[in-house]
């Protein structure tokens, strides 16, 4: 033995340790991979040894190799081995390795549960600490569920070191297992006031993370945080809290008002920049939330802007960056106060730091106005010239275009200037954004009618100088602009001065080097130009030669394109070539063809909104999901291929959406549409109309005609030496404005003398010149994009459905139900073993759809004090409810097995159920003792969504998602699981909630379910809905007991006392309460008379009201969905104890599976077996009567043969089934 140990340790001396490995790798620089692979082989050998020290050493080396990019997941099991070592030294290495390479799909993780639990409860705090740290990195939903309780216990550990780790890791647990949030939250809240600052900080950290995602659930903590903020001296904690407040204020403006003062104090007093910065940020958030009608906060804004200016002016680049970042937040709501610092921001554009320049650019975007747009863009253009790196230059380019095109070109007063800016931008070599410029050119030319002539002239020049742009087409994205240029020249060719020249330019041989899609546009538009040329020259005898020459030109040049390898180009070219040849023949016969050729391209084009296609409403009666033809079977891949092909065609068409012509739409229709559009535009505030002022300018002669296009020498190459041409427009524009102002001034002077100074201000002073003073240079007709008629409003919700934080949107204010106080503990509760595994399944089931629950829970806000008093009363009720809830769910034998299998002990597994049901139960049934009116109002929109019950039953059913979902789920599951049914068609929505009574104040709907646990109990869930505008409170529910059925009242209450409904109802709100009835005889249906009394409270008065109702206990409500195996079922039938009865239903034309689902759902049956149109079903009463059905269907006739050991009950149930089908 001793020898073995000695031998082992000698061996160890020759093992490489981590340092040896690192050194080895450093010494094998040239064949590192080879060296490492031998090392890995060694490690594999070492891992095979029994000695844990050797293994740990190997695992340690693997961790290093993992960092270098080697996959070490193959050693996962060895890592688990090392983790479970009893020595801290090795354990720590094991956990480290695990935290580096385990993830959710690592299968050995599930082996670690018990080891981790053991470590968590280790007497050694560092064992616990290491386990917590490791777990925080690889926690899975299973681990979270299994260990939540252990971790929660650690939150109250005696050692602060453990407490803070336990508190922090809870966040990860919440993410993976949202059900744990509510039970754990009270303790987490306690930790906010932990004596240890580290623990406190951890708790703040966790709550801030939680609150950031779902702030409204944490509003109630605001006072506590407020206290912390004023008392804490820990900057970390302060920063977190202040950030949290920033997230809360948008939801609660009152909080914001309260915050301003302490925050301002902090801003003045703190020396810590980080704190100062966060304070400023939160003040900004507050101001944004208060932005309307809070004039007296301008001081705060000033303070913020001032402080930010100091940050921006600071030499520290970090502060500068953050200052700009915060500035952009103010900009959104208070642009004025930021605009005064334009100088500073423009200065930042010169900064050597790219991050800062980008931030400054962002700011500029929001700072432009009609007045300063040209100036800012000019500045940016300078930067474009200076910028070396292409990424920054591209960024600049997109920013310029963004700035100019924002809100429908709102700030552009002179489109000629804009076009020339775009043309200047085409000089950028190697930019990726050619298509962006191109689309801007197209957009402007199409939508701004007044600019077309100018745009066409510019584009013609571009085409003429195309060789400048296409230097190297491979890397040059800029040639995309030629696409736009060619199209604009072709489409608006009537504005061309010399169409011949342009046509010639478009047919140069060099064009063939352009990308195919551009060539295609060239060819097509050459044809358009050709049409224009013909029209221009026909009729005049002297010019007929020109027309013929043009034809010849096309005939000469087009063959080049006919040979193109690009299909599109080839097709168009050959088509047009033939056309031209034909035209030439006609020309030679002196036939006038111009008109007909022009007709090819007649009609006006309007831009179509990008979402137009999506918004076309689906016509009634058209189901897009229905197959037109039966899908061919077995040719999946082919099918897909076809689909993708179709898609490509569509996408292609879309990219050329400017192409299609609407010539076939008859003129009347067009005229009509135009009328409609005009009317629309007249009412559209964003549509720039011919305002009186611009009209005047027009008359003053600064209109379109006056813009001296001649000034730009178009024949010279684009790069004009000296002054770039857009500058000319800046100058012109200035002059124009000056003149404009002078004019106005004159007029004003005549009227009022004292406003004289205004006009003298120069551009650049942020003078008092208001936006309205600047009139557009010409009437700008920005054509709005077309939308289909009856376009559907509302856009798609862009929220990420996979966000894990969604699941944590859980109301935390509601006090915990007694049973909820503990997380699921896997301990023994033998008396309930029978049914609990299925409840456990429920818990698992809830995980993926926790969202559903929250709506319900929100309305369960309770008043704490009251609920404490009442808790006792409700305790019993709730417990009953839980059981009721549990038993509603069909038990699935197969699933039960599955769930019970993985964990080591099946009994503890089972026992988890009772503790965990409250979550589900409360989710499902919403036992809500008290709802606090004010808070309920805050969350009203959502509440109403989930819980208001509309008058119409169907609507109600839809809204009542939770309930029918669970039920129909159950029903659906069943037929799939137990039977052989394949459910394809969705089941119609179903609900068991039936109207109980209703008056103008309140509406009650109820659902009655048997209670499996107690053969003599029935649970009645009643949803109360407040229908009036007043508050309803002090509801009392009372029922006249019969001999057979009695309402269960709390101990000490008299037999005629009513039950107080444990909540109040604000207007429009509904809530659910449950009542337990004890029944003796379940064979007969029962009716009970009852009364609900309540107080309707309005602002000034309150009145007592009452509502009578009749509770109908059907025999169905005594049945409980119970699954049954087919062998057990046949034994039952063979036993001969059951008595039969049968029923025939005529004229039932529902699908069979719907029919089954209906029986399952409404009458609590489960499908045992289904063969074609025949199914056997089973159910059990609360008193243990078996009930078997054999359902057959043929030709709209359904026959049900039923057997039960209690014929009375059977008869009644069958009657009820009959009733169900007669109703639908």
């Amino acid at each position: 033995m001793a020898l073995k140990i000695v031998k082992g340790s000698i061996d160890r001396m020759f093992d490489k340790n981590l340092q040896d490995l690192v050194r080895g790798i450093r010494n094998h620089k040239e064949d590192e991979a080879k060296y490492i692979s031998t090392c890995i082989d060694e490690i594999k050998q070492e891992l095979k040894q029994d000695n844990i020290a050797v293994k740990a050493n190997a695992v340690c080396k693997l961790t290093y190799l993992q960092m270098l990019g080697y996959d070490v997941s193959w050693a996962a099991f060895n890592i688990v081995e090392v983790m479970s070592s009893s020595k801290f030294t090795y354990k720590r290495i094991g956990y480290l390795a695990a935290s580096q390479c385990f993830h959710e799909s690592t299968d050995v993780i599930m082996l670690t549960t018990n080891q981790i639990r053991k470590d968590l409860s280790s007497p050694n705090q560092y064992d616990t600490g290491v386990a917590l740290t490791g777990l925080s990195c690889f926690v899975t939903p299973d681990l979270a569920r299994d260990l939540a309780n252990d971790i929660m216990t650690l939150m109250s550990h005696t050692k602060p070191y453990i407490r803070k780790k336990a508190v922090l890791i809870m966040y990860k647990v919440f993410l993976k297992y949202p059900e744990s949030l509510r039970p754990a939250f009270p303790r987490l809240k306690e930790k906010l006031e932990d004596p240890d600052p580290g623990v406190q900080s951890a708790a703040v950290n966790v709550i801030c993370e939680l609150a950031r995602r779902n702030p409204k659930n944490y509003l109630s903590l605001a006072p506590l945080f407020f206290k912390l903020m004023t008392s804490s001296t820990n900057n970390w904690v302060l920063i977190k809290i202040i950030k949290l407040f920033g997230a809360l204020t948008p939801l609660e403006p009152r909080l914001g008002k309260k915050l301003i003062e302490p925050l301002t104090n902090l801003i003045h007093s703190t020396s810590a920049m980080s704190l100062l910065y966060e304070c400023v940020n939160t003040v900004i958030a507050v101001l944004i939330s208060l932005s309307s009608g809070m004039p007296n906060h301008s001081a705060s804004i000033q303070l913020c802007v001032q402080k930010l200016r100091i940050l921006i002016e600071d030499s520290d680049q970090n502060l500068k960056y953050l200052g700009l970042l915060a500035m952009s937040k103010i900009l959104k709501t208070h642009p004025k106060s930021v605009q005064s610092h334009k100088d500073l921001i423009l200065q930042c554009l010169d900064d050597k730091d790219e991050s800062i320049r980008l931030r400054a650019l962002d700011l500029l975007y929001g700072m432009v106005s009609k007045k300063n747009l040209m100036e800012i863009v000019k500045k940016l253009m300078l930067h474009v010239d200076k910028a070396e790196g292409t990424t920054y230059r591209d960024e600049l380019l997109t920013k310029i275009i963004d700035i100019c095109s924002q809100s429908n070109y709102q700030y552009i007063t002179n489109f000629e200037w804009y076009i020339s800016i775009l043309v200047e931008l085409t000089r950028l070599e190697g930019t990726r954004h050619g298509h962006l410029i191109a689309s801007q050119m197209l957009d402007v030319a199409i939508r701004v009618k007044a600019i077309r002539a100018f745009a066409v002239a510019q584009m013609a020049t571009l085409l003429d100088n195309a060789h400048l742009l296409t230097g190297n087409t491979q890397r040059n994205g800029i040639c995309e602009v030629l696409y736009a240029a060619a199209w604009i020249c072709g489409e608006f060719s009537e504005h061309l001065e010399e169409p011949m020249v342009t046509l010639e330019a478009m047919l140069r041989p060099k064009v063939a080097t352009l990308p195919g899609h551009i060539q295609a546009v060239y060819v097509q538009n050459a044809a358009k130009l050709f049409a224009t040329v013909l029209r221009g020259h026909e009729g005049v005898p002297a010019d007929s030669m020109v027309a013929q020459e043009t034809s010849q030109l096309l005939i000469d040049r087009l063959p080049l394109f006919v040979q193109s390898s690009n299909l599109e180009v080839q097709e168009r070219a050959s088509c047009i070539l033939q056309l031209v040849k034909y035209i030439q023949k006609l020309q030679q016969k002196d036939v006038e063809v111009a008109e007909e050729v022009t007709a090819l391209f007649a009609g006006e084009l309007n831009p179509v909104a990008p979402k137009a296609q999506k918004k076309v409403p689906v016509p009634e009666g058209l189901d897009l999901d229905v197959w037109i033809n039966e899908p061919p079977s077995g040719s999946e891949s082919e099918d897909e291929g076809r689909k993708s092909k179709g898609k490509a065609v569509f996408a292609k068409e879309e990219s050329r959406h400017t192409k299609p012509r609407y010539t076939e739409v008859d003129e009347k229709e067009l005229a009509k549409r135009r009328e409609v559009r005009k009317a629309e535009q007249a009412n559209n505030p964003f549509y720039i109309k011919a305002s009186p002022s611009s009209q005047k300018v027009y008359q003053d002669g600064v209109g379109v005609e006056h813009i001296p296009v001649v000034q730009i020498d178009l024949s010279v190459p684009l790069k004009v030496p000296g002054m770039p041409m857009s500058d000319q427009y800046v100058k012109l524009e200035e002059e124009r404005r000056e003149r404009n102002k002078a004019d106005k001034k004159k007029k004003k002077d005549k009227k009022k003398r004292e406003k004289g100074e205004k006009g003298r201000r120069r551009r650049g002073d942020s003078g008092p010149e208001s936006e309205e003073d600047i009139t557009p240079a010409h009437m700008v007709d920005i054509v709005t994009e077309e939308m289909p008629e009856n376009a559907l409003p509302s856009d798609d919700d862009d929220k990420d459905p996979n966000d894990p934080h969604k699941a944590l949107n859980i109301d935390l204010d509601k006090p915990l139900a007694d049973s909820e106080k503990k997380l699921p503990v896997r301990s023994h509760r033998p008396d309930e073993v029978l049914k609990s595994p299925m409840e456990d399944r429920q818990v698992v089931e809830v995980v993926p759809e926790p969202k559903k629950k929250t709506g319900k829970e929100k309305k369960e806000k309770k008043d704490r004090k009251k609920s404490k008093e009442k808790k006792k009363k409700h305790k019993q009720e709730e417990e009953e409810d839980l059981m009721g809830a549990g038993s509603e769910e069909p038990v699935q034998p197969e699933e039960t097995k599955e769930v019970a299998a993985p964990p080591p002990a099946s009994t503890p597994e089972a026992a988890a159920a009772p503790a965990s049901t409250p979550r589900t139960a409360s989710g499902m049934a919403a036992v809500a003792p008290d709802s606090e009116p004010e808070e309920a109002k805050d969350t009203e929109p959502e509440e109403t969504k989930s819980s208001t019950h509309k008058k119409k039953k169907q609507k109600k059913e839809k809204k009542k998602k939770k309930h029918h979902h669970n039920h129909s789920d159950g029903a659906g599951d069943e037929s799939v699981q137990n039977g052989t049914v394949e459910e394809e068609e969705p089941l119609p929505p179903m609900s068991n909630y039936a109207l109980l009574a209703e008056n103008s104040y309140i509406k009650m709907v109820c659902d009655i379910q048997g209670n499996l646990q107690d053969g003599s109990q029935v649970v009645v869930s009643v949803i109360f809905e407040n229908k009036c505008d007043s508050f309803i409170k002090s509801m009392e529910f009372n029922v006249l007991d019969s001999l057979n059925s009695k309402l269960q009242r709390p101990d000490g209450a008299g037999p005629h006392d009513g039950l107080i409904v444990p909540f109040q109802l604000p207007p429009g709100i509904s809530n659910e309460a449950r009542f337990i009835f004890s029944v003796q005889n379940i064979v007969m249906p029962q009716k009970l008379k009852g009364t609900l009394t309540f107080i309707v409270k309005t602002d000034d008065s309150s009145t007592h009201e009452k509502l009578d109702f009749k509770l109908h206990f059907t025999c169905t409500s005594y049945l409980i969905t119970t699954p049954c195996y087919s062998d057990a079922y046949s034994k039952l039938l063979e036993s001969g104890d059951l008595k039969g009865c049968s029923l025939k239903l005529e004229g039932v034309n529902q699908p069979f599976h719907h029919l089954l689902a209906r029986i399952c759902f409404h009458h609590h049956f489960s499908v045992v077996e289904r063969i074609d149109s025949c199914a056997s079903m089973y159910s059990r009463s609360i008193q243990g009567h078996h009930m078997c059905l054999l359902v057959k269907t043929a030709d709209q006739t359904v026959s049900i043969d039923a057997k039960c050991d209690e014929p009375g009950l059977l008869g009644n149930v069958l009657d009820e089934i009959k009733l169900t089908f007669s109703q639908c």
Binding site: S136, D316, S355
Partner: protein
């Protein structure tokens, strides 16, 4: 939340990587390369924040880094963290390393990746800041090391090897890293 912590040297060699979100190994390496590419081309006198970096990206995320002598310390964080706070945290972490390794240099990180991890674990846990008080961190690290020693240590050999290597004089990290430029008072948590 902190999404990842990367330490690499001036040549992009990783010295410590710690992802708080799962990425496959090859993706991790790609992230390191890309981050290095982004960070390394920046001057020392520009700001320490970087947006973008497609892999770790998402508009909510930022890279916050510091450059000490031969090493870059890069934290990828989302908007719930204070930028200046994280800068300060990096400072605290480096100072802690300095204390634990006595004049920390790149070699310490190279040969004791595991120990650096253990120290980091006392600062950041599961992507959340655990402790910012340097004395507290150092104290806990030392207590754990003492425990390891009492168990006989992981192995005696490395100690010798390290001392041998340490004699090779590689560029040391500056002792007192310029703390003055960011004026955050490291929270003075009272020791317990």
């Amino acid at each position: 939340m902190i999404k990842a912590i990367l330490i690499f040297n001036n040549h992009g060699k990783p010295r410590l990587i710690r992802f708080y979100e799962y990425f496959a190994e090859d993706v991790q390496q790609q992230i390191i390369r890309e981050t290095f590419h982004l960070v390394s081309k920046r001057d020392d006198n520009v700001c320490n924040f970087l947006e973008g970096g497609s892999l770790i990206g998402g508009s909510d995320y930022k890279l916050i880094y510091r450059h000490y002598a031969t090493l870059y310390f890069v934290f990828c964080v989302d908007s719930s963290e204070s930028e200046l706070g994280i800068l300060d945290l990096i400072q605290v972490f480096v100072e802690t390393l300095d204390k634990c390794f006595e004049n920390v240099c790149e070699l310490d990180l190279i040969f004791h990746m595991d120990k650096v991890h253990f120290i980091l674990q006392e600062v950041v846990m599961g992507g959340m800041v655990l402790e910012t008080n340097m004395n507290e961190i150092v104290g806990q690290v030392e207590l754990q090391n003492r425990m390891e020693k009492s168990e006989g240590g992981f192995s005696a050999a490395p100690a010798r090897a390290v001392s041998a290597v340490k004699n090779i004089n590689l560029p040391e990290m500056p002792r007192n890293i310029n703390i003055g430029d960011i004026n955050i008072k490291v929270p003075s948590l009272s020791p317990f």
